[in-house]
Structure formats: C-alpha cells, structure tokens
C-alpha cells in the first residue's frame, strides 16, 4: 500500500552510490531498476525482530537510516535538520572482509532555516570501520557523523538516540526520544512499490521528540521539535517507468502523523498512496483514489522547476491543507540532486513536516 515510500530514499541512496559506477542511466534513477540477481529478495510475511533489524542487512542491495527533524529555537524561529546514511552492496555474494568488502556507504546531512539551506555528503567503504551500523548497542556512523543509542535505549522504540553531524558550515547534536512503538509500513513491514514485484522492507518511528543544539555559520542555537525516522532495505525497489516522486512526512498539531507520496510515472498515471497514523500509533492505509495532491507554486533551482507549494486533500479524513516550504530553496546539491526540506501546513489541520521532491 505505502508502495513508494521506498522510492524516495532509494532515489538518493542508490543513485549517488551507483553514480560512482558510471554515467547515470536515462531511466530508473541510476540503476535502481537493475535486476537484483544474486541479492536476497523481498517477500511478504517476514517477521521483524529488534534490535537485530536496526542493524544492516548486507544480503540486500540497498538500505538506509533516514531521519528528518522539524525544530524551533526559543524565539520561535523554525529550522529543519536531515541525517541520512545509505548502504549499498556493489556485488552480491558472500560478504568479504576488510577492503575487499562489497559494502559502500554514503551519507547526507542538511540544515534549513528560512533564509538558508546547507547540505553536504560523504562516502566511505565498509570493512575497515570508517562507516557502518551495529544493532546492539545501536550505532550508525560515517566519519564523525553518528547516530547512537543513549542510556536506557529501547529497541522497540529505537530511542533515546543522539544524532550528530558536523561540517565546516554547520553542525548539530540532537537528542531523540520516543515513547511509542515503531510503525511497520505497508503490509506488516512488507512495502510493495509497484503493481509488479518491486518491494521493500520498511518501518518508521514518526514519534520522536527532539532537543539539542544546532550551529549554522558558527552561530549556535538551542532547538526543540519533532523528528521522523525511516528504515528501509531492498534489492530492487524501482520500476522501469517511474520518473520521480513527491513525498510528505507530516506531524499534525493534534499528534497524528501522515506519510503521503505521489509517484510520477512516465505514462502520466500518477499513483498516490499514504498512511494515516493516529496519536497512539494505529495505522490506516490510504488508497490512491482517496488522495489529491496538487502543486500550487514552483521554484526555479539549478535550472529546474520544482513544485514547492502543494494543496493536499483527503476527503475521507476531512482533510484539506495547503503546504508551504520553510525555505523554497532547500536544494540538496549532492551527487544526485533533489529537493528536501521542512514545510508547514494550514487549512483543515495545522502542523509541520518534511517534503521530498525527486526527479525534476
């Protein structure tokens, strides 16, 4: 049902990693539509087990740990922070040791303010300790960036966590806490991504509360807010005819969460899907016919027209909202560029969230 949450992340992960392997392909975002021969397949009915599943699944081709946070300082100014770690196996087969390992890692980090957006990326090979993820005690790291379990860590909520990233332009240290269990997306964590065989394993923690420090251009501020984590792994997540997607992760003022996406297909039959999560963690999948997503305004960045303001309507939930970006220039100028940044919405409901726009 929530078929394509997978694609948004696979876009960045797979494309950038595979970009190192050659020129980007014309379709299917840098080889994510390649046949998954030799890698483990995603099949329904898998039993998730924590903390083991917080760690890497090297028999699958791609995997990511993805956190976005909507933050405010004491004066009420809004900020966004993004922290993502991607794993990719260059070749299938028995895992090799040391430098010979097939596993490579990439990470993106970004911060956003109404007047500025900073993004950076870094790469590492697995096998020697420069980057990796360990399930227990939970730790995901690349160079000096890290997401690690703090005292009192509970594998069922994947909290509390400390999240750090630093570059010459910005740095942040955020403490993430949650008291509600993880949400398995799709059919008990089996997330179909097309009408065909493409699928992924996918779970989220949308209920993080955040407190920490954020420094942009050497000006530190204390911030608090909400965060959302997505965990996903697969071997062949993208269909041939998919050109990009528009994805929303929304925190409602009433405590509800909404995951929404629209997958744009080359035949113009855009396919929308979503998941409505009540404050107690109960999930209600949304069908494509129930969702209307309409671009309202575009921003021109890097020679592309990006729809950064949206109208979203879901009549069954009596929901009709207008989403506006905190900073319409939240452009991720990484190896494979995309738009990702904090938004706020008003209308029938109010709240904040994150928007990701790819393939423009």
């Amino acid at each position: 049902m929530s078929a394509s949450g997978i694609t948004r992340r696979s876009f960045a992960a797979g494309s950038a990693l595979l970009a190192l392997g050659g020129a980007p392909r014309a379709q299917g975002f840098a080889g994510l539509d390649e046949r998954a021969d030799g890698f483990a397949r995603v099949v329904p009915g898998r039993k998730f087990s924590f903390p083991a599943d917080h760690g890497p699944h090297p028999e699958f081709r791609i995997e990511w740990w993805y956190v976005t946070a909507n933050l405010r300082d004491a004066a009420g100014n809004a900020y966004g922070a993004q922290w993502t770690l991607f794993r990719q196996a260059l070749q299938p087969g028995t895992a090799l040791e040391g430098w010979a390992t097939q596993q490579v890692w990439m990470a993106h980090a970004a911060v956003t303010r109404a007047d500025t957006h900073r993004a950076t990326e870094t790469y590492a090979r697995g096998g020697v300790g420069q980057a990796g993820v360990e399930a227990a005690p939970f730790r995901a790291w690349i160079d000096a960036w890290q997401m690690r379990a703090l005292d009192g860590f509970d594998a069922n909520t994947i909290a509390p966590l400390e999240l750090t990233a630093s570059t010459v332009e910005f740095s942040y240290t955020l403490k993430l806490s949650a008291d509600r269990p993880l949400v398995l997306q799709g059919d008990a964590g089996f997330s179909r991504k097309s009408e065909r065989e493409q699928a992924s394993y996918y779970y989220s923690q949308p209920f993080f509360k955040v407190a920490g420090d954020l420094t942009i251009d050497e000006k530190p501020v204390a911030v608090t807010g909400l965060a959302w984590m997505d965990r996903e792994w697969s071997s062949q997540p993208l269909a041939k005819d998919q050109s990009g997607w528009d994805w929303f992760a929304l925190h409602f003022d009433g405590g509800e969460k909404l995951m929404l996406y629209r997958m744009r297909q080359t035949d113009e039959k855009h396919y929308a899907s979503g998941n409505w999560i009540s404050p107690d963690g109960k999930a209600t999948p949304l069908a494509t016919t129930e969702i209307t997503m309409t671009p309202k305004a575009t921003t021109e960045i890097a020679g592309r027209r990006i729809p950064t303001s949206w109208h979203v309507a879901i009549p069954r939930l009596n929901l009709a909202i207008d989403c506006t970006p905190l900073n319409p220039r939240s452009w991720m100028g990484t190896s494979f560029a995309y738009w990702e940044g904090p938004i706020s919405f008003a209308g029938s409901h109010r709240g904040v969230g994150y928007l990701e726009l790819t393939g423009y």
Binding site: L20, Q102, V104, A124, Q130, S166
Partner: protein, 820 residues
C-alpha cells in the same frame, strides 16, 4: 590591389636572381624557429610530465600525514582520524617487480580520495566498482603497457608469484607507476592493514588535534607550492631555454645579414618603384608582407624540423632528467596546438625584428638621392664607437648582476649579459686588432690585406658575433661538463667506498648476517651506517651515521675541515655538514647547531664540510654509535663491506643464498658505480647535442655572410686583379683573411668561454643545486674547439673562394664597365 601585386612581383624578382640569398634567408629563419621550438617542445613535454607526477596521489601538492619514523603505520589510525573529522585518504606504496622490471605500486582508496588530488577523480570515476571489487584493476600509463608488451585486461604476475589485477591503460599516469585499490596493494605488498601515508583533503571542518587522535605517531607534511621536482629541474630547463634562445638569435643574425644585403642590393629597384609612383606606404606594406610570407613558410618548415630535433633529443632529455633527479618523463612527444602557433608567431616576430632596420630605412628612403654605396663605410666608425659604448654598458650590468644577484635567474641573466656584451664588443676589438696588423704590415699587398679586412668587418661582424657566442658557449659548457665529470667521479668513489652493500630485512636478520660475515676471511671490514630524518629550519635534513674507518678517511674529500677532523668526529659531539646544507643554513667550520632528537636536542659542532652532489636534501654526517644513541629507533639494517676484490661476486651469491636476499638487499657497489657513471654520461648528452647544433648554425651564419659579401666585394677585388694579382692568389688571400678573422674571434671566444664556465660552475650551479664545482682547465679540449671553429670557418669560406678562383676574367672586367 593590382598595383600592390605588381610591386610584390617586382620585389620578388630580386630573389629569383639571387637564389642563394633567398636560401640564406630561409635557412636563417628555419634554423632559428627549429631550434627554438624544438627546445620549447622538450620543455613543454617535461612540464606536462612533472604535472602528472605532482598530481600523482599526494605528490608534493597535497598535504600528507606520515609516520614520524618514516615507516608504515596501522590502518586503524586512518579510521580514527576520519572519525575525528579529518578528511584523510589512505595510501599504501611499495615496489613490485614484473618480469624483472621494478615498478612503484600505489594503493589508493578512490572513495575518500580528496577531489583536489590531481587526476584522482578521473581514475576513480568510470569504473569505480570494477576498480574496488575483486579482481580489481591495475591502472598503468599506456607507455608502461607497451613496455611490458601487455594488452589491456592482461593479468601480469609479480615476481613474488602473486597474480595482479587486470591492466587498464590510463593516460594521466606517469610511467613506472601502477595504481591499484588499497586492499589489493596491501595484499600484493604483503602489508596487511598497513598504510604508508594519508592524504589530507582541503575540506575544512571541525578536526580534533592530531596529537589527540594519533599520539606522536604521525606528522603533517604541508604541501609545497611548487614541487621539489620542479625546483630541481628548473635549472635544467632554464639551461635548455638559454640554448634555444641563443640558437634563435644566431639564426636571426643570419636573417638580418641576408635581409640587409638584399635591401642594399634592391635600393635602386626601390627608388625606381617610388619614381614610378608607388607610394612609400604601399612599398612598406609590400615589404612587410613579403617578410611575413617568408616567415610563415620558413616558420612551418622550422616547426617540422623543430619537431624532429625534439623527438631526436627527447630520449636524451628523458635520460638526463631521470639520471639527475629521478624525474620520469615519457619517451613519446605530445605537442599541443599552442606550440605550433607560438612557433609561427616567433618566426614572424623574429623575421620582422631582424629586418626592422632595413624596413625603417626603406620607409625613410629619399626618392631622388643618388646611390651612396660608401655611406655605410663612412658610418662605420661612429657605429663601432656606439657599439663599444653599448658593450661597456652591458658589461656594467653583468657586474651588477654578479654583485647583487641572488637567484638562479640572476645567474642566467649574468650569463646573457656577458655574452651580449662580448658580442657587442667583438667588432670594435676586431677593428683594433686588424688596425694593429695593418700598422705592422709593410708590403703593399699585406697592407691592403689588413685594410680590406677592416673594411669588410661590418658585413661580417654579425656572423662573427654568432661564431663568438657559439664558441664561447661551447667552451663554457664543455669545461663545466668536464669539471663536473671529474669531481663527480672522485666523489662517487668516496661515496661508494665499500665494495658490497647489504640491507637486511630487520635488525635481527642484520645481526645474523653480520655474525655470519665475521667468520669469513675475505671480509676485511663491516661498516654499518644509519640514517635519521629530521627537520632543520623547516627543511628536511638527513643525519647520516658512519663508523670510524680508513675507508671513509681515505675516500671522503672534505672541502673544508678543522684540524684532525676525522679523529674529532669519533666522540659524537661533532658533525660534517654537506655543502648544500652549509650554504642553506650559512654554516661554516666551527659553528654549532642543535639537531632535534627523540631524547632532546643534540648539540653538534660543525668540523668539516663535504661535497654531496646530486642530493636534494641537506645532510649531516656523524659518528654511527652517537647516531644510534640519540636516535635509538632507527633501523640498524644497513652496512657496507670491504672485501677482497677477487672474492666479491662469490661472497654476494653466498650471502644472497644463505639469507634469501633479493637484488635490492645486497649489491655490488662496483656495479652501482658503473651504472651511476653511465647515467651521468647520458646526462649531458643533450647539452653536447645542442652545442653541436649551435656551432653548426654559427657555421651557416658565417657561410651565408661570406656568400653574400662575395658578390659585393668584386669591385674591391677587380682592381687588384687588374694590376696583376692572379685570381688564385686573390682567392688565397681571401681565404687567409677569413681564416685570420675567424681565428681572432675564436681566440677571443676562449676567455669568454672560460668566463661562462666559471659563471656556470660558481654562480648558476650554486643557485641551482647548492654546490659549487671546482674550476678546472682542459687545454686539449680548448685546442680542439678552436680547431673545430677554424674548420667551420674554412668550410664556410671555401665555397666563395673557389668561385673567385675560377671566376671568368670577363666578370672581373665587367666591373670596370659598370657604373661603379
């Protein structure tokens, strides 16, 4: 337009009637362009290679982290540094042998390789995945592939039996380097989890202090703005450029004399054209167009010749650079488009420059003035005076440069000023010499001989200047090479004094080998040596430890020493400094310095200074025992052996077998010495070749000047013939005259050449390399050069003289029939 074409056709008709003059002009332009652009091509080629070398994964242009002891260090330090925010990328380096040839093997990590590390990203991109995943790829320069006679994709075997990854040609690599993924390199070099250095990217960010992450194990080496290699090779290229420039000017002398003569001869034609209504402007435009057309044609031919000269010299240049500095440049010439354009441009500029005087004269040509063939003779006296004054001025500049100059460029400028001054001074000096001869002569023909030589001077002076310069450069360079050669060989004998060199794997093996060798009768002495690297005044300095033994005392010549220096070296509180280091740090005998050592500063008194040719690093030589006391960590694995000469090869093979040593671990010093001498001899092959070229061009300049003069001199010779001097006698007198002027020039060139040699040895060398070579005279060589010069003059003079000897009397009579 039509009028312009007709004017051009009229002007060109002159060349049809004087094909030899045309040939002269073209030869001048072609040789000027050829030599200049040939040398430029060589320089360009070498520079490209240096750039490639410098960009080579942390050449000197990237900051690096290396172990304090210079050895390999554990890979975990790389991870620790990355995790502490350092943008480092690991490199492991070693040597492997493929089919008996030795290569540098570089293991890199493309993912963390800083983007600014030269050609690294191009290596990494493209086939990144194939490069890092088994079996990987081995990148090599196309030249290396063809040297190994292997195709892309072939998997050569290293000498240790390991199969290497499939080869892939990579244009940007320099020869003799193989690049593989770091994991593969660690395997091939048998250095599991070991690194040789870390490249530090430019990305800034929060980094923990180095000491906090790695303790005192690593040190940061800051990047050099210009690489060591470039600095070292600068003087070599400046040398080449100077040669090229000299040849260029010599070529332009030829052009100048040809154009000047043609102009004199065409004066009546120009006047006629003006009288017919051709404007001065058009005439000038046509003259310029004519020159440019010649320059284009000759420039193109010159470039082609230049290409061949460069291609012919490249192997020698490559050998020289490799021999001198270990700089590797490919043997294939690759020329850029700019080179061709620059060549044509320089040809045009040169042609216009050489004919500027004539063009200006033509522009100011009074239409109705009658021909004044003697005008330039009248002007000669004034002209000589002016030239003499100019020479004095240039010499004054040279003196200033010698006194105040402090750079390599100043050294070369001094050389240039000396040569220019000498060239300018030549005509006045010759004039004075010939005047002296004239005064001493009493017979009428002898007096005429001297007087006529003087009168001929202005026509010949440019060619003679060219000869003077070519000869002087020859004398200078030959003297320098010979001085260098002698000194170098003596020094080599001292440096490689022991007969056999052994480098053991580790200290334990070294002790085993030493114990075993002590038992053998043919081993006369075991001479351990050691090296430590330190930084003095921000420069890398080698501390070299030797034992107290007659081998060193007898073979190491000290340039300066306090009394009893060798005895005083023993206690360990004294040191000898290499000449380069002494010059750099302004040290002299009796000075004290402090060397940073692990156990605290080590005060040393300098008690001697020795020559250390060819070593870019400064060096201090101390007692071996004292060195190991102050630097306990240095490997004690190297030692030399004095061996009964007849037993050397037997001992080497016995030791090699017993301890399983490879060729690099045990060596016959005699073989090393022979190899060094061979490399050295090739080093100056290029210089010799360019010398021969310059002398050849000077010969051509003389020939063309004499040929062009021959015709114009008939009016002077005809009256002599008419009063009874036979043609043969006249020819002999002419020959004698040319030879005597050439001889005077050659004799003048000798002191100038020696002065040039002195400058090269005592000024340029010191600035370029940091050492001064003793100046030595080689009379036989000088005599030989004078002989060559006379031969060149004879060859140049013989053709016009033969023509004169066989000239139809009718031609001589016709002189009187003409207006003149």
């Amino acid at each position: 337009m039509k009028r312009a074409l007709w004017t051009l056709a009229t002007l060109l008709s002159h060349w049809r009637r004087h094909p030899m003059q045309l040939a002269t002009l073209l030869i001048g332009l072609i040789s000027a362009t050829a030599l200049w652009s040939g040398v430029q091509a060589l320089n360009q080629q070498a520079r490209i290679s240096y750039d490639r070398a410098a960009a080579m994964f942390g050449g000197a242009r990237t900051a690096t982290l290396v172990a304090k002891d210079g050895n390999a260090f554990p890979q975990s330090l790389f991870v620790d540094l990355r995790r502490a925010g350092w943008p480092v990328s690991p490199v492991v380096e070693g040597r492997i042998q493929i089919g008996g040839r030795s290569f540098r093997l570089l293991g890199i990590e493309p993912m963390t390789l800083p983007g600014e590390v030269g050609n690294a990203p191009t290596v990494a991109r493209g086939e990144f995945s194939a490069f890092i995943t088994p079996p990987g790829q081995m990148l090599a320069a196309p030249e290396t592939l063809s040297d190994l006679k292997l195709a892309q994709g072939a998997r050569p075997q290293a000498n240790n039996g390991l199969q290497l990854p499939p080869l892939r040609a990579q244009e940007s690599l320099i020869p003799d380097i193989l690049v593989v993924d770091i994991g593969i390199a660690q395997q091939v070099l048998n250095m599991p989890d070991q690194l040789t250095r870390l490249l530090v990217g430019k990305t800034k960010g929060q980094r923990a202090p180095l000491e906090k992450v790695t303790g005192d194990r690593l040190r940061l080496v800051e990047p050099d703005a210009s690489t060591e290699l470039e600095r070292l090779t600068d003087s070599f290229h400046l040398n080449l450029t100077a040669f090229g420039l000299l040849s260029f000017f010599v070529g332009l002398f030829i052009v100048n004399s040809a154009v000047g003569l043609a102009f004199e001869q065409r004066l009546p034609m120009l006047r006629t054209l003006r009288s017919c209504g051709v404007s001065a402007r058009m005439l000038n435009c046509v003259l310029v167009a004519e020159q440019v057309a010649f320059a284009l044609a000759a420039g193109l031919a010159g470039l082609i010749c230049g290409y061949f000269i460069a291609a012919a010299l490249l192997p020698d240049v490559a050998a020289s650079l490799r021999g001198l500095y270990g700089a590797s440049i490919p043997g294939q010439l690759a020329l850029k488009g700019e080179w061709w354009l620059a060549g044509i441009a320089i040809s045009i500029i040169g042609a216009l420059g050489a004919s500027a005087a004539s063009l200006i004269k033509a522009a100011r040509l009074p239409v109705l003035a009658s021909a004044q063939p003697q005008a330039w003779q009248q002007a000669q006296k004034r002209w000589l005076k002016l030239q003499g004054a100019a020479a004095v001025l240039v010499f004054a500049i040279a003196a200033c440069l010698l006194w105040f100059g402090d750079s390599l460029l100043a050294g070369f400028a001094l050389l240039a000023a000396l040569m220019l001054g000498a060239a300018l001074a030549l005509p006045p000096v010759l004039e004075r010499a010939l005047a002296l001869g004239e005064r001493g002569a009493d017979k009428p023909l002898a007096r005429w001989f001297w007087a006529d030589s003087r009168q001929q001077l202005s026509g010949l002076s440019l060619a003679l200047m060219a000869l003077l310069l070519a000869l002087a450069v020859n004398v200078g360079v030959a003297t320098m090479v010979e001085s260098f050669s002698r000194t170098f060989l003596i020094w080599l004998d001292g440096r490689l004094a022991s007969d056999v060199y052994v480098g053991a794997k580790d200290d334990r093996q070294a002790n085993e080998i030493k114990a075993w060798l002590r038992e053998r009768n043919e081993v006369q002495a075991i001479l351990p040596s050691g090296r430590a690297d330190v930084q003095l005044a921000g420069q890398p300095v080698e501390i070299f430890g030797i034992v107290d033994h007659a081998t060193y005392r007898d073979h190491w010549p000290l340039l300066e020493a306090s009394p009893n220096a060798w005895v005083r070296l023993r206690p360990g509180d004294t040191a000898f400094a290499s000449e380069q280091l002494a010059r750099r740090l302004k040290l002299s005998v009796g000075d004290r310095i402090e060397v940073p050592a692990p156990g605290g500063p080590w005060p040393l008194e300098i008690i001697g200074i020795y020559a250390d040719y060819g070593n870019p690093k400064g060096q201090l030589t101390v007692n071996y025992a004292a060195l190991t006391r102050h630097f306990p960590g240095i490997p004690q694995t190297r030692f030399g052996l004095r061996v009964e000469p007849s037993q050397i090869s037997a001992l080497i093979s016995a030791t090699r077998e017993k301890f399983a040593l490879d060729d690099r671990s045990i060596g016959d010093q005699a073989a090393v010495k022979a190899e060094s001498k061979r490399i050295f001899n090739r080093t100056f092959a290029v210089t010799t070749a360019l010398n021969a070229f310059t002398l050849g061009v000077a010969g051509i300049a003389l020939l063309t000047s004499l040929l062009t003069l021959a015709n114009s001199r008939l009016p002077q010779l005809a009256p002599l013939w008419a009063i009874g001097v036979t043609r043969q006698r006249l020819a002999a007198v002419e020959l004698l005259k040319t030879m005597s002027v050439a001889l005077i020039t050659a004799l003048l060139a000798l002191p100038l050449g020696l002065l040039v040699a002195w400058c090269l040895l005592a000024v340029v060398n010191v600035k370029a390399f940091g050492w001064r070579l003793p100046f030595q005279l080689f009379p036989l060589q000088l005599a030989q050069l004078v002989g060559v010069a006379m031969l060149a003059a004879f060859c140049a003079a013989v053709l016009p003289v033969l023509r004169l000897a066989r000239m139809q009397p009718a031609n001589l009579i016709r002189i009187f029939a003409n207006e003149r």
